[in-house]
């Protein structure tokens, strides 16, 4: 088969533009695709947030957020998740500079912090369900709370899976230097953290 490939000296319009301006987001389809996907994800979370805000205080039976939510655990949780954004930033810095050993260390720390967040959430939910009798069908608060926080936690879990796969592939030496995978996963992780900041503000600061 001799289907002609793109001749190497021919740049697409976007590549030519990137060469001129140094602007790569709009020349790299994978980065742009990820950015678009994250836009749609934010539309998804905004919808859940709006529903949460709209139904605040509309419950016909308790417990209310003030009665049910306790702060200490969730603050520890938040600190862990936010610092995982810092550790993945460090990991990426080492990755770009070619220090793959440190990259793996910081990526592993990020995974541990994220996993601790998920476990922390599990303990929070156990307490809410067993001690406070708050379930998804208990009242409106339970409905919106578990949906919002649950979808966020699901995204964290997906992020953990992605990072673990990345770590595995990189350790096995199967990740090519040009692959944007590490950077795209770090974007996703920052996004998940950003969503948590909004969720935390709405659920634990404003709504409580």
């Amino acid at each position: 088969m001799n289907a002609p490939g793109a001749s190497p000296n021919q740049l697409t319009a976007a590549q030519a533009h990137a060469a001129e301006t140094g602007e790569t987001l709009f020349a790299d389809s994978k980065k742009l695709g990820m950015a678009c996907f994250l836009c749609s994800e934010s539309a998804f979370f905004i919808t859940l947030l709006v529903a949460y805000a709209l139904y605040l205080g509309k419950d016909t039976v308790g417990p209310t957020p003030a009665e049910a939510l306790s702060m200490p655990l969730v603050i520890v949780n938040t600190v862990m998740l936010l610092s995982s954004s810092g550790t993945i930033m460090l990991a990426m810095k080492h990755y770009r500079d070619g220090r793959y050993g440190q990259f793996r260390v910081f990526l592993a720390i990020t995974i541990l912090l994220g996993a601790a967040f998920v476990i922390g959430t599990a303990f929070e939910w156990k307490d809410l369900i067993e001690a406070k009798h708050l379930t998804i069908s208990r009242n409106l608060f339970g409905t919106t709370f578990y949906t919002l926080v649950g979808f966020h936690a699901a995204h964290v879990t997906i992020g953990l899976i992605l990072m673990s796969i990345l770590l595995g592939i990189q350790t096995a030496g199967h990740l090519s230097k040009e692959s944007p995978a590490a950077e795209l996963i770090s974007w996703y992780w920052h996004f998940v953290d950003g969503v948590w900041v909004v969720v935390f503000t709405l659920v634990y600061l404003i709504g409580r």
């Binding site: 697409t12 976007a14 590549q15 695709g33 996907f37 836009c39 859940l48």
Partner: protein, 554 residues
């Protein structure tokens, strides 16, 4: 020497091997064809449902179908037409032609592309599986009967027993996942993979319209998905999102649905606008009038259409202020749409018109979409909407837009691009029969609905009473629906007949100007031997007229 698999005539292969190739393909052209063929299948289903409804409404108090069945028919018809006919046929055309028009070898993410197609197809299967599997434990209903916007509390466990509503939710949700992946892919392709020299400002307008449509999909579908998840939680986990007794609110569903639903109308319309913007210049032998305003109007529509959703809710009793705001925003969206109408008309003006079949459909689009737009402005007037909403006037309005506008535009696309994809022209005689019967049949169906609607005939009701002057209008509509059905049958016959017997098309049968016509018909798997370098909006004109290229004038 190794044989070239693309130029050597292929030996006849066993069916299984052909099937295997199609099922596993990630080629944008094959996926495009699969989208289009699947949408034809769903068009037959959606059309049969429409025909059954019209036959039931032939005369007062008929009992061809039961009231319950009628509820299922309009739900399945509306859902099918929107999610499984117009969305996929446009996705198919965009898939096939956008890479060709921008001079790319494939989409940015071929496997994601295949994923999107299969999500759509299985979504459709899931919806129709409800006819067999939705009885659930309760033996209640078979197909969903909740209307295409599935208002709460019709969808609550108390009113919708069995699983039909769940199939509706899951089917549309899956196809929505497919649409989002399509949108991500299209944006990445259009932004990063244009041929050397093709700036956004010299990209074909079809590409622009697909770009804006994809942007709309990105922001409109996820809220819909979220709302559907809430509904599923309500139905199966005992959540209370739309449960009034527990403080929830059915109105939230309406807002979330229409926050998706109105942009969806433009998601369906913009690709059709794109087709019209390609067809009219080619058959007027003039460049498009006002390319820049066309782009601006498209982007403007994109933004404004995100802020008009509650005009679908004037009758639920929102506050006067909200009514006023959304009424005003709706008038606003008419401005960029009007600009487009003027641009198309101005392109026709003084052109050397060639009355080919695609051109006829484009002209039909202009006339009918104009009427749909005008009745839309009538309905944006709040008191007018109070009177006419949920009547057949509204049905007439949106079919003028969805059928007279969008589907006529899509037909123009079929006749225009078929020669490129198949290598043969569609038969002109059959095409003329198709066009005229569809044009007459369409008007015969939907013009009378304006009258029956004004007389007070409500939508979504399985019959009507004698003696209110509605018999004649309903009979005309039903005759029109039969004529429309015949026209669509001729269309399908033409598709098949021309595949075997059509005249050889050659590379560029219309003497057109965009890059898809620069390669063979059908194009090879890699699209272009050599990626062309683009200097103007009409690269093919430049090639054909090296003495007077466009880029000297633009």
């Amino acid at each position: 020497m190794q044989a070239d698999t693309y130029t050597v005539a292929p030996a006849r292969r066993p069916l299984t091997s052909v099937m295997h190739e199609w099922v596993t393909t990630v080629d944008h052209k094959q996926l495009g064809i699969m989208y289009i063929i699947a949408s034809c299948g769903f068009l037959v289903l959606g059309g049969m449902e429409a025909l059954l409804m019209r036959l039931q409404l032939w005369a007062p108090e008929m009992d061809l179908v039961s009231p319950d069945t009628f509820n299922q028919l309009f739900t399945m018809h509306g859902t099918t037409m929107i999610f499984f006919v117009v969305m996929p046929v446009e996705a198919g055309m965009a898939n096939y032609f956008v890479p060709l028009m921008i001079g790319a070898r494939d989409m940015a993410f071929p496997r994601l592309n295949a994923f999107g197609f299969w999500m759509f197809l299985f979504g459709g299967f899931l919806l129709y599986f409800s006819y067999f599997g939705a009885m659930g434990l309760y033996g209640a209903g078979s197909a969903p009967d909740i209307g295409w916007y599935a208002y709460a509390p019709l969808t609550s466990p108390a009113f919708s027993r069995g699983n039909s509503t769940d199939y509706w939710l899951l089917g549309t949700m899956l196809s929505g996942v497919g649409s989002v992946s399509f949108a991500v892919n299209m944006i990445a392709t259009i932004i990063t993979m244009r041929a050397p020299g093709m700036r956004l400002s010299t990209m074909p307008l079809f590409g622009w319209m697909i770009l804006v449509t994809s942007g709309l999909i990105l922001f409109a579908f996820p809220p819909f998905t979220a709302a559907e998840i809430m509904m599923l939680f309500d139905r199966h986990l005992g959540a209370h999102f739309f449960d009034t007794q527990a403080g929830g609110d059915g109105l939230l569903w309406q807002h979330l649905f229409w926050f998706f639903g109105h942009p969806e109308v433009y998601i369906l319309a913009l690709p059709a606008f794109g087709i019209i913007s390609e067809v009219i210049p080619v058959f007027s032998r003039k460049v498009i009038f006002g390319y820049a305003t066309m782009v601006m109007a498209t982007v403007g529509i994109g933004f404004i259409s995100m802020g008009v959703w509650a005009h679908h809710m004037f009758t639920v009793g929102m506050s006067d202020t909200i009514d006023l705001l959304f009424s005003g925003a709706t008038f606003l969206v008419a401005v960029p749409t009007g600009i487009k109408m003027f641009n198309w008309t101005a392109t026709l003006y003084g052109g050397r018109l060639r009355m080919t079949v695609p051109m006829l459909f484009a002209l039909g689009f202009l006339a009918l979409f104009l009427i749909g737009g005008l009745t839309g402005i009538m309905l944006a007037v709040v008191p007018m909407d109070w009177q006419l909403s949920d009547s057949y006037f509204l049905i007439a309005h949106f079919h003028f837009v969805a059928f007279g506008g969008i589907l006529f535009g899509i037909m123009a696309g079929y006749y225009y691009w078929y020669p490129k994809a198949v290598g043969r022209m569609m038969n002109r005689k059959l095409g003329l029969w198709h066009f005229w019967l569809q044009f007459i049949g369409f008007n015969l169906t939907f013009v009378p609905m304006h009258f029956s609607g004004v007389l007070g005939m409500p939508r979504r009701v399985y019959t009507f009473e004698a003696g209110y002057g509605m018999e004649i209008w309903n009979q005309l509509s039903t005759i029109g629906a039969v004529v429309t059905g015949i026209s669509l049958a001729i269309f399908v016959v033409n598709l098949i007949y021309s595949y075997f017997r059509g005249r050889e098309a050659g590379d560029d049968p219309w003497n057109a100007w965009t890059l898809e016509w620069a390669t063979t018909s059908p194009p090879p798997a890699y699209n272009f031997e050599e990626i062309p370098t683009v200097k103007s909006r009409r690269p093919l004109w430049d090639l054909k007229h090296p003495d007077d290229p466009d880029w000297k004038h633009e």
